[in-house]
Amino acid sequence: MSHILAAAGHGGTNTDFIAEETIFWILAIASVGAALAMILVRRAVHCALMLAVVMLSLATMYAMQGAPFLAFVQIIVYTGAVLMLFLFVLMLIGISSADSIVETIKGQRMAAGLAAAGLFVILILGIGHASIGPAAPVSAANGAGNLSGLATLIFTTYVFPFEVTGALLITAALGAMVLAHRELTAPKLTQRDLAARRLASGQLAPDPSPGVYALHDAADRPALLPDGSTSELSVSPTLAPRDPGDEPRVVRHGERAAVTADGEERAGSPAYPAGRDAP
């Protein structure tokens, strides 16, 4: 791959041209397909994966265009940091949050499609009117090397925007800290308060461990009670609503272990099992 990229980079001969063209079309089809899939799939995690495909395709294109620094920044900052941040927040907010199909504004999708088509036509017409010349050879810009050239520009011509960028990043970090900070509205519970609450709750012992006396000892297997029924207290409540498409794994208190609750019933039940204090 690096050989091909290097060849395309310093290109001029016919084979290099063919290599760049081939890679471009593969990447173009992949990125447009992934972008379309991104706005069509319903689950947010799949959107993030599609976005990763687009970003990696664009990184390869930057490398082909004689921008190796930007290619690596794209992979490290975008695919590495920004996309991981997206996934992180996605996991915090709830991985099962899928978009609903119902349109809240009537005809919104049709209007959006029309607006997109109009924007596309306008932009393509603008490009058609512009005089876009042939590409200069990659070596024209990268005379002293891509990195040294960029560094020279950033620290001479663009030094003021660069400093402003630093201020922006600091402001963003402060803003994120302020926004993500949760104010403590109630006094913090002491150990004495916790002990009193536990005594008042009526359950002194900890919850049973999952998998006790059951066939499997996985964390999502409820423990068996002496009468053969299962205890949903033994399974962490976060395991139950995690995958709504799957057959529910947590069997309700009092049912036989062999019988699984049916999906309809499970979907309507609260996120926290009855008999357990919601946090």
């Binding site: 972008a35 978009d99 950033i154």
Partner: protein, 99 residues
């Protein structure tokens, strides 16, 4: 490879991203579509930089990346604050200013 190809590809990606912003209702997905639009702009910048044979376009693309990173950090923090208050990440549910 003519820069026109790259610019047209960037237009297509930009329009797809804009459509996503208009159509999708999960706020995180809306953010991802904005990222897609910014990436499309970067592709056009890099293509123009190559066409002109200088590095200014690449520097601008670099600045766009920095601004996008800052935007994502603040945006996701706002999103988490909204989610904490309203238990929803849908842009339809944040309608307190509507009536």
């Amino acid at each position: 490879m003519s820069p026109v190809h790259y610019v047209v590809l960037s237009v297509i990606l930009f329009v797809i991203g804009g459509t996503g912003v208009l159509v999708r209702r999960n706020a995180i997905v809306v953010f991802m579509c904005i990222e897609l639009m910014l990436n499309a702009c970067n592709l056009a910048f890099v293509a123009f930089a190559r066409m002109h044979g200088n590095l200014d376009g690449q520097v601008i693309a670099f600045f766009v990346m920095v601004v996008a990173a800052a935007e994502v950090v603040v945006g996701l923090a706002i999103l988490m604050a909204i989610f904490r208050a309203r238990r929803s990440a849908s842009v339809d549910d944040a309608n307190l200013l509507k009536y």
